[in-house]
């Protein structure tokens, strides 16, 4: 069989029936488009989520969360575990009114230690970080997120050494925090205020409890074993009898990594499932159109058989005609999907990551739809009796 001539004739047939071809294409285009857009935005969102989670849960970190966590607990852990290379408590004081010259803004206030700069992975882009002196003197100094700074002082304003009120307590701004963007909960971390943890606990909240501490361990492979050891020490510190519920929670970076992966996977599965449903409907539409086409072209099939086409030739021809349509639709669908992804990206700021895998998957899906929907009509065409077909 001369495949070149056959392929030429299927392309001709495709362009001859433009409207029919459009109906056959549209489902595959949307299906493959959904797949590509979903994958590209999904990978972009995944990358962004991983980045922001990594910022807090860098590899080899352990987070302790407890309403009854004290400095003493953290010190005990540092003393008993030499693999803990650094630790930093953080005090989440909740939201407070921040005001400057009559402008008031409700925002999150955190108490941080000197070590927080390294351990929590966020320094300053202007001014200076906290010192031990600030801690011991429970100084009324503050670091400000750059977006909050713009809100209070304008884009050109210099916040350093300006005095703001947190609630009714005056604080002096000593630095601007590194940008951190939107966190996975949707909070803008660039509107945060950081103050010394001692100031937050004693002056603003009058409490002994720090709330959260983060530990960095030396061996990231050992982080889960280390987390178990931390748990034992804390049970002892908090006098929790065996079998009794813990009053704290411990998260290791590997555990969080698994959670993030799971979330990403679930999102991905939804996108793929949606695309699969569209493609299934597309396949059914194409199959029914092709069954009509076969009936319409009975005389042509009979003629081709009279001229020497075998059953395989006829089946192959109809299959090729469908696959050519779906493959071209798949290519258009990839274009459509990328266009849609970029459009969404413009409005949401989500990065678009196009992998060759997802493009290959889109094309493969188009071919599979073509074969799946073409096989039945092709068989029907192949088995036509030429005597009946030519009558």
């Amino acid at each position: 069989m001369n495949r070149k001539l056959l392929l030429k004739s299927s392309l001709r047939i495709m362009f001859r029936n433009k409207l029919r071809t459009l109906f056959m294409s549209i489902g595959v285009m949307i299906g493959v488009g959904t797949l590509i857009a979903g994958q590209s935005l999904g990978s972009g969102a995944e990358k962004q989520l991983n980045q922001s989670v990594n910022k807090i849960f860098s590899p080899g970190s352990i987070m302790l969360v407890s309403r009854t966590l004290t400095y003493g607990d953290v010190e005990a852990i540092e003393q008993q575990m030499e693999q803990v290379v650094a630790s930093a408590a953080r005090f989440g004081g909740g939201e407070s009114d921040i005001s400057y010259q009559g402008v008031t803004r409700k925002t999150a206030v955190f108490g941080h230690t000197v070590e927080g700069e390294v351990v929590w992975n966020r320094g300053v882009i202007e001014g200076r970080y906290f010192t031990n002196n600030d801690m011991s003197k429970t100084a009324r100094v503050a670091l400000i997120g750059h977006r909050l700074s713009e809100l209070l002082f304008g884009t050109d304003g210099d916040p350093i050494d300006e005095e703001i009120l947190i609630g009714s307590v005056p604080f002096r701004i000593i630095g601007v925090l590194e940008p951190a963007g939107i966190d996975p909960h949707g909070e803008d971390r660039d509107e945060d205020i950081y103050i010394p943890i001692t100031t937050a606990m004693r002056r603003l909240n009058n409490t002994e409890y720090i709330g959260i501490a983060k530990l960095l361990v030396s061996d990231i492979e050992q982080v889960d074993e280390d987390a178990d050891q931390v748990s034992e020490i804390l049970r002892e510190q908090h006098n929790i009898a065996p079998g009794e519920d813990e009053d704290f929670a411990i998260y290791s970076s590997t555990f969080v990594g698994l959670m993030v992966d799971k979330t990403n996977r679930v999102l991905n599965v939804y996108m793929v499932a949606a695309a699969a449903v569209v493609l299934l409907v597309a396949a059914i539409v194409i199959a029914s159109i092709m069954l009509v086409v076969v009936r319409e072209r009975v005389a042509e099939i009979g003629l081709r058989k009279a001229l020497g086409a075998t059953e395989q030739n006829i089946g192959f021809q109809f299959l090729i005609e469908v696959v050519v349509v779906t493959l071209v639709s798949g290519l258009l669908g990839i274009g459509l999907g990328l266009g849609a992804a970029n459009l969404v990206s413009i409005f949401t700021g989500l990065p678009v990551i196009v992998s060759t895998d997802s493009v290959a998957m889109g094309l493969a899906a188009a071919v599979v739809v073509g074969i799946a929907s073409g096989i039945l009509p092709a068989r029907k065409a192949a088995r036509l009796d030429p005597v009946v077909a030519l009558r």
Partner: protein, 253 residues
């Protein structure tokens, strides 16, 4: 070239039982002959043509085509033999719609195993042989009935078949176009093609060099003899007309 011996074929008709369409049909066609198979509708001539054209297989009997017994070929071998050995010409032309004359003529080459060289050029050559050199890029719909049938004949010629099977080739044409098509068959026959014409029209059939009558599934040579005898001049003319150019050599090759 063709030898049928004791070919029988019957169909199962729902509710009516078995219908025997061909009953022990035997006849031969020699190379270079122009034979007409004549019969009324229901005589079995269509079934006979389908069997001759390898579109249908007989229940019993032997069919020898171009020196090979084709009664026992597989579907794939039958298709290949149709492609290389037989050229079909149909009453309804059966051209592909919205396709040019050249592309229509190319069609058998799609299923040909031994294509070397320019398929386009072969198609154009075949169209020149039927006098359509100025209609190469016309679409089937833009051609008159007579021209469409010429395209179909060019398509039948393209693989240099051993026989041309023409089923009522003038049935859808007016008198002038019909005569031109018959002239073309005579010309091709003169050039060496074996032609089998299937028709219900005794007058058309009388243009062939030999007539085979079929009636109720049987070849009736007696009837053929009487009919032939009743029109001796016409047949003789056709025979001599066909023979003379053949003796002069083959003009188109």
């Amino acid at each position: 070239m063709i030898r049928l011996s004791n070919i029988s074929k019957s169909y199962q008709r729902p509710g009516e039982g078995e219908l025997q369409v061909l009953k022990e049909v035997s006849f031969e066609v020699e190379q270079g002959e122009f034979v007409a198979i004549v019969g009324s509708s229901g005589s079995g001539k269509s079934t006979l043509m389908n069997i001759l054209g390898l579109l249908d297989t007989p229940d019993s009997g032997e069919y020898e085509l171009a020196g090979a017994n084709v009664s026992s070929l597989s579907a794939r071998e039958l298709a290949r033999t149709r492609n290389s050995t037989i050229g079909f010409v149909f009453q309804q032309f059966h051209l592909l719609p919205r396709t040019t004359a050249t592309e229509n003529v190319e069609l058998p080459l799609v299923y040909s195993n031994s294509i070397n060289g320019d398929t386009r050029k072969k198609a154009i050559d075949a169209l020149c042989r039927v006098g359509l050199e100025d209609r190469l890029t016309h679409y089937s719909g833009e051609l008159s009935g007579g021209q469409q049938q010429r395209v179909a004949i060019a398509r039948a010629l393209i693989n240099d078949p051993d026989i041309i099977l023409a089923d009522e080739p003038t049935g859808n044409l007016d008198q002038v176009a019909g005569r031109q098509i018959m002239d073309l068959f005579h010309e091709l026959n003169s050039a060496g093609s074996t032609i089998i014409l299937i028709t219900h029209d005794p007058e058309l059939a009388s243009q062939a060099s030999r007539l085979v009558y079929i009636d109720d599934g049987r070849i009736s040579p007696a009837k053929a003899a009487t009919r032939a005898a009743s029109r001796p001049a016409r047949i003789n003319m056709a025979v001599t007309g066909a023979m003379q150019p053949l003796q002069q050599g083959i003009p188109h090759e």
